[in-house]
């Protein structure tokens, strides 16, 4: 109706919304939908939450294995001696 996205289309646009990649007019239409739709508002909130969770995961979940850390430092020292 009036070119407004339905719920399924809103969910498909949600990643771009949280990444700030929508055009002004896309964002406007999406916001109009959110104004009247609790379910999509909840979904968008969950999408934001998921994005942050994944970002935190990727940036800090994994610790460097000690063996690799040692190898890297050895290489670093060697590279430096060459100069």
């Amino acid at each position: 109706m009036f070119g407004l996205p339905n719920c399924k289309q809103v969910t498909e646009m949600s990643s771009q919304l949280v990444d700030h990649n929508l055009t002004r007019s896309q964002k406007f239409k999406l916001k109009l939908h959110l104004f009247v739709c609790d379910s999509c508002r909840a979904y968008i909130e969950k999408m934001r939450f998921t994005k942050t969770t994944l970002h935190n995961w990727v940036s800090g979940n994994r610790q460097i294995p000690e063996s690799l850390a040692i190898k890297l430092e050895e290489n670093f020292a060697q590279e430096h001696q060459k100069k």
């Binding site: 771009q16 609790d38 909130e45 935190n56 460097i64 890297l72 430092e73």
Partner: protein, 207 residues
Amino acid sequence: MSDPMDKFFSDQQKIIEQLLAGDNQAFKQVTRAWYSPMYYVASSIVGEAIADEVIQEAWTSVMRALPKFEGRSSLKSWVMRIVANEAKTRWRKESRSVSLEQIEESWSTDPRFDGSGHWVSRQSSFHQDSPEALMTAEALQDCIRKHISMLPSNQRQALMLKETESYSLDEICNILEVSSSNVRVLIHRARDKILQMIEHFEKEGSC
């Protein structure tokens, strides 16, 4: 969303000088702080088994190229670009010219929506108030790990690259050799699956 190490690395020029001077402590700090995103990028492209080797090669390249680093991007973005390139080169050598772009899975029927694209059942928010609180549950961490590994590889690659927040969409397209509309779809589908996994976990208390 700030990296805990962002403050430490705010004085980028100083770090670069320390690295060029052979400061072992500075090197230790950057390699540790950036290991996680480097690992997820490398492993999503070449697989877990050789991800660490790729990271090692990437740091060698970084140290050799550092004197020529022009500072047009942040040091971290530059390092992240080098690890993605190393991974891609390695991936090309190892695999027999299969494109990174794979056949699309079908997405037309999503049981969450009715025929006119409306939610079948009412959606509610997550119970946890913050992603940080959520991540204290170890079982959930295992579940996320499992679900990330179950994603189709092109979705996993796009998601991992995106969530490092080190690459622009254009860069992700170049690395993965997919169009920008496809990369958006891949990122969204991957996130949507993890979102549904968290929903399920909250409801059932198990993975």
